[in-house]
Amino acid sequence: MNPIPNPGSGTRNVLNSDVDIKGNLKFAGELTFAGHLEGEVHSEGALQLEDKAVVRGNVSVNSVVVRGKVSGNLAAKERIEIKAVGEVFGDIRAAKLIIDEGATFVGKCDVNPNKTFPAQSTPPPPLPGGAPAPKPPEPVNPIKK
């Protein structure tokens, strides 16, 4: 049971492991998915990928919990959670990312809720053995926490 329904739409959708979809999937509210999908997922809602779920395609949602396998990029407005049994091969972009121990994740990651930058504004210098760059004044934005 998920105690927090998505605001604005209380629908709760379930697709079990005997479901096979080729094509794009849109939903509102919540979707618990345990089937196979070859295609994309677009939603403003919350997606739960169960252990048996296999998704080959990009996922763009408000939030997603990954317990299954994803080959594709994950984008979430809010948060992405990869559970220990989850496997993600693809890039991740979200405001918040939580990874449990044991999860598989190979890809790029852009999780920068406060839009901070590295302590130096220039790209990272060639690190080993290089002459240390002079330290510029740190252009750190004041971060509201």
């Binding site: 096979d20 196979h36 070859e38 296999v54 080959r56 396998k69 080959s71 948060r79 496997e87 091969f89 693809g90 991740i92 918040k96 990312l97 939580i98 990874i99 449990d100 121990e101 044991g102 999860a103 598989t104 994740f105 190979v106 890809g107 790029k108 990651c109 852009d110 999780v111 920068n112 809720p113 406060n114 901070t116 930058f117 590295p118 302590a119 130096q120 990272p124 690190l127 080993p128 240390p132 926490k145």
Partner: protein, 135 residues
Amino acid sequence: MSTTNNDSKNFLNSEVEVKGTLRFGGELTFDGKLEGDIQSDGTLHLGDNAAIKGNISANSVVVRGKVNGNVTAKEKIDIKSKTEMFGDIRAARLVMEEGVTFVGQTEVNPNKVSPAAPRPGEPVKPAATPKPAGI
């Protein structure tokens, strides 16, 4: 190279600044500033005040503070909330708490699975040559 004294516990507090390569055995808790690399077969704990500009290679790393560089761990990387990490990650296991800033690439594949999860029901070519686990 580093000694195999795995009982040693080392501490560097927040008023420490290091420029250069840091090696240690056993354990190091680092809360200072470092411009350079850390290399160890041991366990590294970064504190909230830690600021690293350089690459980290250790057996396991608990990341706090700010890291601008790549982190490699034989075993496990644990990124705590409020950490700011810009760089790539490679480890057998990764744990990331909510509230982390992380921009970079990740290679965390504890079971060495390959991405091509074949759809069930799809004929598998019997003569398919085993692909090298692309790492």
